[in-house]
Symmetry: C2
Subunit: 208 residues, 2 copies
């Protein structure tokens, strides 16, 4: 989707915000958003896992207020060995945990692949990340990519750029200079924040 | 393959031993085994990675002499969460490393899968194991299952039971009470020992 004018972009954002959270529809088309529990306070880490470039983003939620904490990418040179990449990835996640002490981590559920080799490589990266999170007793949740985009943009087929625009709006930050992998990671945290704060967490997926 | 008598078993072992290491054939059918470098001393850890039951086995090599150090399995209850399994797996491998200080680790290369979901799960287990090995600067190698069986049994289609018999013979240990996952892991270490000590390591696969 391309926007011809600023007005068109703003209208799209308004429409997308109106359609999120996606929860009311999933509970049978209620028109009013469900009540929010103001007592819920969490620090959520989203991780967009990959072997070469892993995005991460951390947000704080307090009731229905969200605030960005930090975000970034863990990059590995294209020619590094697989074992070296996994070491850097696990080490990077460990550093982030020790620095920010998240309560919850969210990953993108990877259900579709071009081939088993890709699944194997992505699986290795996920294994390195999940084992470090579990070592620190941080519960891990995963959401399908469509569900995250639906919750954040109101459209399960939204592009990475559209996700970045919505993340900027929700968190009131500038995302122009951020890597799309890190805005994707922030969108995962936002998605979980919605699932957690609405409907008493009834639609939360099981812990990984 | 089933053996009708002890004599038949012994003949099979003799034949299999005669056909290993597989190296002479791969270098063009030389009849004599290549010279062994007596200065090579290594402690090799083989890991048969899986989410629920990971076998491991450690051997010491000194020239062409091999000695079993220890072996076992890292088991996770069938109903444990994936994150809990990966934590136990990574923690178990870390303990083994701190106890025995291996120089090299060997995994089974996983190239064929029933489906991408299986590839993803096995990939996660491998990622957790490899990241811990890399964290301790232990080089990781992988061999295709057929290559391991060929090196140890002289038959790429050997069963796990046949592999266990050959492992018992090579290392002069009793494998009856050992889990087949741990004898599989020992066979990986034996396979790498052959590749390392014969032909100056020219046929070693690249580090993972």
């Amino acid at each position: 989707m391309r926007f011809k004018s600023q007005q068109q972009l703003e209208e799209w954002i308004k429409r997308a915000k109106g359609s999120s959270p996606s929860l009311p529809n999933s509970l049978g088309g209620a028109q009013q958003p469900p009540p929010v529990n103001p007592a819920i306070q969490r620090r959520i880490l989203g991780v967009d896992t990959a072997l070469r470039c892993t995005g991460w983003g951390m947000i704080d939620i307090r009731g229905n207020n969200m605030k960005a904490v930090d975000c970034g990418v863990i990059k590995n040179p294209p020619k590094d060995k697989v074992s070296g990449c996994l070491r850097c990835l696990a080490g990077g996640i460990r550093e982030i945990i020790q620095l920010y002490h998240p309560d919850i981590a969210v990953l993108e559920g990877a259900f579709y692949f071009a081939n088993v080799h890709t699944a194997m490589i992505l699986g290795s990266a996920r294994g390195a990340v999940i084992s470090v999170l579990a070592e620190h007793n941080i519960p891990v949740y995963e959401y399908a990519p469509r569900r995250i985009k639906q919750a954040v943009c109101g459209n399960g087929n939204a592009s990475k750029e559209q996700v970045a625009i919505m993340v900027a709006n929700y968190l009131d930050i500038k995302t122009d200079a951020l890597a799309l992998d890190s805005t994707d990671a922030l969108s995962m945290a936002i998605c979980h924040a919605y699932e957690l704060t609405t409907a008493g967490g009834l639609t939360l997926p099981p812990e990984l």
